[in-house]
């Protein structure tokens, strides 16, 4: 009854092309955004920001980037952690070496550097694909892991190997309290989600999807594989690089290469699979799920009286089982469940 598009006539091309064509969706999204900007910072306790909200926002930005590559363009990548590291360390270098560098610019420059590295490691995708490419992208992961650990220049010759940033501020507003950090990340995520949504609706997004569905056929109908694949790598690594810079600057504050190791890559891939391959919404669902699940499992096992080692193993098992479960039962992930629910709601209360 409440969720129905009856009577919402579109009288202009513009109205037909909106991101959310149904009025109720628009209202809900604006409500959600207002809630996130205004209400959450007022009421949420500090623990919630530190443990859930900030990691959720940053990881969903990274998942968004990975989803563009894996979900929309079909180029499976296991090197996401490496691109995050490139973003973080490049942003660090810009921030530390250039006097008076604004934080936002440094973070975006981190994204630009990640783009360059991403395109570089994306070049093999023109020759190889599928499984071979998945292994080839691991090269990016291991190489960056090593480079940031061993090459002192990247860490500004820090003796301990870890780097840290402090005193962040945007136009004079400090980013110190968890609520300020949260709002800072939220700003990035909102802008980038809008960009991503519009990119995948555009001709670039359609060429990505054609590449994903059948690359030879796409090439035959006139989509340039070089352009489609490399733009996917570029956009994806830019998002991932910005997320990496945020992860280092805002969430961790001080970090070392282990923060972006191969487990991070797998974690992001799981977010994309469980959330929904080829869905912007799904990236957020997946990130929320994977950020919250370990916390829930930890509390559950502790409440049941198990020790922490067992809790860690259980988390492993649940992750593994969930991935298999989603691949079998709902390959399009939580996002598909969400859209099915919406379909049902449209027909409710008469299911025919």
């Amino acid at each position: 009854m409440l969720y129905r598009e009856n009577g919402q006539f579109k009288t202009s091309y513009r109205a037909d092309q909106q991101v959310f064509p149904i009025l109720q969706d628009r209202v809900a999204i604006w409500g959600l955004v207002l809630l996130a900007i205004v209400a959450v910072p007022l009421v949420a306790p500090e623990y919630l920001f530190r443990a859930i909200l900030i990691p959720f926002l940053i990881l969903s930005l990274a998942a968004l980037g990975l989803n563009i590559l894996v979900g929309y363009c079909g180029q499976i990548s296991l090197g996401t952690g490496g691109f995050m590291a490139v973003g973080a360390y490049a942003a660090y270098n810009f921030f530390v070496r250039v006097d008076g560098m604004p934080v936002v610019v440094a973070i975006l420059m981190g994204g630009v550097c990640a783009t360059v590295v991403g395109v570089l490691f994306g070049i093999p995708s023109l020759r190889i694909k599928g499984l071979y490419l998945a292994v080839a992208t691991l090269a990016a992961q291991f190489f960056t892991d090593w480079a940031f650990l061993r090459i002192k220049w990247f860490t500004n010759n820090s003796s301990s190997g870890s780097v840290n940033v402090a005193g962040l501020n945007v136009f004079g507003f400090p980013i110190e309290t968890p609520a300020q950090k949260y709002l800072f990340c939220l700003g990035f995520v909102l802008v980038f989600a809008l960009i991503a949504k519009n990119l995948v609706r555009s001709h670039i997004g359609r060429s990505w999807m054609a590449m994903r569905d059948m690359d030879v056929a796409a090439a035959v109908i006139g989509i340039r594989p070089v352009y489609a694949k490399l733009t996917a790598f570029a956009v994806s690594s830019f998002f991932v690089g910005v997320a990496g810079a945020l992860w280092g600057f805002v969430h961790l504050g001080s970090w070392e290469p282990a923060a972006f190791n191969i487990d991070r890559s797998f974690q992001l891939l799981f977010m994309v699979i469980i959330g929904g391959l080829g869905s912007i919404m799904g990236s957020f669902f997946g990130a929320a799920f994977i950020v919250i699940l370990p916390i829930v499992l930890d509390n559950l096992t502790v409440a049941l009286g198990f020790d922490t080692a067992l809790a860690a193993h259980l988390t492993f098992m649940v992750f593994g089982a969930l991935i298999v479960f989603f691949l079998i039962v709902e390959p399009h992930g939580l996002a598909r469940l969400w859209s099915t629910a919406k379909e049902k709601l449209r027909l409710w209360p008469f299911p025919h």
Binding site: A134, A136, A139, V216, V324
Partner: protein, 309 residues
């Protein structure tokens, strides 16, 4: 020169072990078209089972012969691996018939996580040792030619012999038996193989069991050398470039790729490493593979990839 040869031989030996893990990947890919990311987890799982069973068997049965304890443990561990193979087919692969390679790859990623967690839950997560009586004493070769001779580990020699025997046996199995042909047919096209009467589920159980067997052998050799612990599953990440370098469908390619990367890794670490800060073993294999793939996208010995619309 003696040092160079020693490095070379050390590289060959560790390359042999990479190759052994890589065979497991190749077997499953060749026989079912699944890129089995879980091979490393299977090695860890098999080795854990072996180590724990050989510890438990004497206590339960009151025996004190190490040989019998090891035999029992080996049979039991093999039984566990067959059970794993059967469950994987029943619960995962059977439901993903005719899906794309990438979906199957991600499913094995899920299996990896599950096996890692499950293995450590039931078998514990400490460092265990496997002692199957492989000789540990070093051997000195060519002592008259070089000062001090060349140090070779006897254990490594045994490992090399076992690996070579496995390769020969598996190659014959794939090339000349009816089952081997059925396995290759399934790899080409699940649906077509099924439609001419090849029992898909049985083929999958067979091939995962064989891969489990290879994992068990690899696990025993690595385990008796370094002890069984979680880091063993990282081995799979070492074996990945090996598989790709050799070509996904070639069993001898896995061994040759293993040897090449093993040697390359050791030599580069010793001779190039100090110039750039060391630790380049971690990425050396991957970067070599990346370069090789740009020239030969199917790896050194893989079948040519043909695209059709």
């Amino acid at each position: 020169m003696g040092f160079f040869l020693e490095t070379l031989i050390g590289g060959l030996m560790s390359g042999m072990l990479y190759g052994l893990v890589a065979i497991g990947f190749v077997l499953i890919f060749k026989a079912s078209g699944v890129f089995n990311f879980a091979q490393g987890a299977m090695v860890l799982f098999a080795a854990l089972a072996m180590a724990r069973f050989s510890e438990w068997a004497p206590k339960l049965l009151g025996l004190d012969s190490k040989l019998i304890a090891n035999l029992i443990a080996f049979v039991a561990a093999m039984a566990v691996m067959v059970l794993v193979a059967w469950l994987v087919e029943k619960l995962v692969l059977g439901k993903l018939v005719n899906q794309e390679g990438i979906t199957l790859l991600m499913a094995t990623l899920g299996i990896t996580y599950f096996l890692d967690g499950f293995g450590q839950t039931i078998f514990g997560s400490d460092i265990y040792k496997i002692d199957v009586g492989l000789p540990k004493d070093p051997l000195f070769l060519l002592e008259s030619t070089f000062q001090g001779g060349i140090l070779v580990n006897k254990e490594d020699l045994y490992a090399a012999v076992i690996a070579a025997a496995l390769v020969v046996a598996l190659s014959i199995f794939f090339q000349y038996t009816a089952t081997g042909r059925a396995l290759r047919a399934v790899a080409d096209d699940h649906q077509a193989a099924q439609s001419i009467g090849i029992p898909l589920s049985r083929v999958w159980v067979i091939v995962w069991s064989v891969a489990g067997f290879v994992a068990l052998v690899a696990g025993i050799i690595w385990g008796s050398k370094l002890g069984v612990q979680f880091s063993l599953s990282v081995l799979a990440l070492k074996a990945l470039p090996v598989v790709i370098l050799g070509g996904l469908t070639s069993v001898p390619g896995a061994i040759i790729g293993g040897l090449l990367l093993g040697v390359g890794e050791k030599l580069s670490e010793v001779f190039i490493g100090p110039m750039v800060g060391g630790g380049i073993e971690i990425w050396f294999g991957y970067v070599v593979v990346l370069i090789v793939l740009l020239v030969r996208p199917q790896g050194l010995f893989g079948e040519k990839i043909i695209d059709r619309v």
